[in-house]
């Protein structure tokens, strides 16, 4: 079953994650869940300041909330295949604000084998309700060697 999955999932196949509605409440819950209480995510008055040349205009979602949504998507995809989410690298492209709805997705980019396992390299992106990428990255999922 597992061996077949690796062989039958082709480069170009898509992985779709669930959409996530960002609100002041979701950001506050992420503060409590992650213990990251940086005022960037809590304090509108503070966010009237400029950060270098950037003014966010109000509180923003934690960048790592994107990261958590991507690992959620990849783990939920890999587990039923007997595969394991092994690595994720991300960059943030745009701030995410209350009222946005974001959704992670992935595309199988490459398949390769090492001495002891088989791997899928996956391009990942988190897009907002306008279809704009807010975060991009690359992930590795490990499949057991063929029996």
């Amino acid at each position: 079953m597992t061996a077949k999955s690796y062989e039958t999932i082709d480069v170009g196949a898509r992985i779709d994650g669930p959409s996530f509605a960002v609100s002041r409440e979701s950001i506050r819950l992420f503060c409590d869940g992650s213990l990251d209480y940086n005022p960037l995510h809590l304090d509108d008055d503070y966010m009237k300041n400029s950060f270098g040349k950037t003014n966010f205009g109000g509180i923003i979602m934690h960048g790592m909330n994107n990261f958590g949504l991507i690992t959620r998507m990849l783990t939920d995809w890999a587990e039923p295949l007997g595969a394991t989410h092994r690595r994720l690298e991300t960059r943030w492209l745009k701030p995410v604000r209350p009222g946005d709805t974001i959704r992670p997705s992935g595309t199988i980019k490459h398949k390769t084998k090492s001495t002891k396992a088989r791997w899928m390299l996956i391009d990942v992106v988190v897009s907002n309700q306008d279809g704009m990428a807010v975060a991009v990255g690359e992930a590795l999922v490990e499949f057991p060697a063929a029996a």
Binding site: F20, L29, N38, T75
Partner: protein, 161 residues
């Protein structure tokens, strides 16, 4: 003595110890960060899970998790997001207000589990300036009570001026 149940005791006002935290100029690449062992509770795992909408029974349903290849409840890979703050003291520079995360990469070895005593080894690895912005590269490894690596990761933050 490991910390546990940080929910009630955790200092959520990141301004409070701001003056005691290292600024970019004072951060020495290679120098270890002060860290604290932390007992990861099921409650902390599930609160984190709820904050990103996790529903996988591996994190919530013990009977199901016992039948899985993991043999019991586990934490999701991205639990390191919580562990970064749970395993560091209030004067750690990762808490400096205005710290902007510019991206991270993490490698996952084995899952963290409820009841694990987690230890962090962390340091700044590098610092640089780009487009007038002050960057620090941080480098972290989380271990369980058996000295097994849970995950390791690296990230870049833009430091507040």
């Amino acid at each position: 003595m490991a910390q546990a149940d940080l929910g009630a005791d955790f200092e959520t006002d990141f301004w409070k110890d701001a003056a005691s935290r290292k600024i970019w100029d004072d951060i020495v690449p290679g120098e270890p960060r002060k860290t604290l062992p932390y007992v990861l509770t099921l409650e902390a795992i599930q609160l984190y899970c709820r904050s990103v909408g996790e529903t996988n029974p591996l994190y919530f349903d013990e009977a199901y998790a016992k039948t899985s290849r993991w043999g019991g409840l586990i934490a999701p890979p991205s639990i390191h997001i919580l562990l970064m703050f749970a395993c560091t003291p209030t004067d750690d520079w990762m808490r400096s207000p205005g710290t902007i995360n510019a991206g991270q990469s993490w490698s996952y070895n084995i899952p963290a589990r409820p009841g694990d005593t987690i230890r962090l080894e962390a340091r700044a690895l590098d610092k640089f300036i780009r487009k007038d912005r002050l960057f620090v590269v941080h480098d972290n490894v989380f271990f369980n009570q058996n000295n097994q690596v849970i995950c390791s990761g690296r990230g870049q933050t833009i430091r507040p001026m």
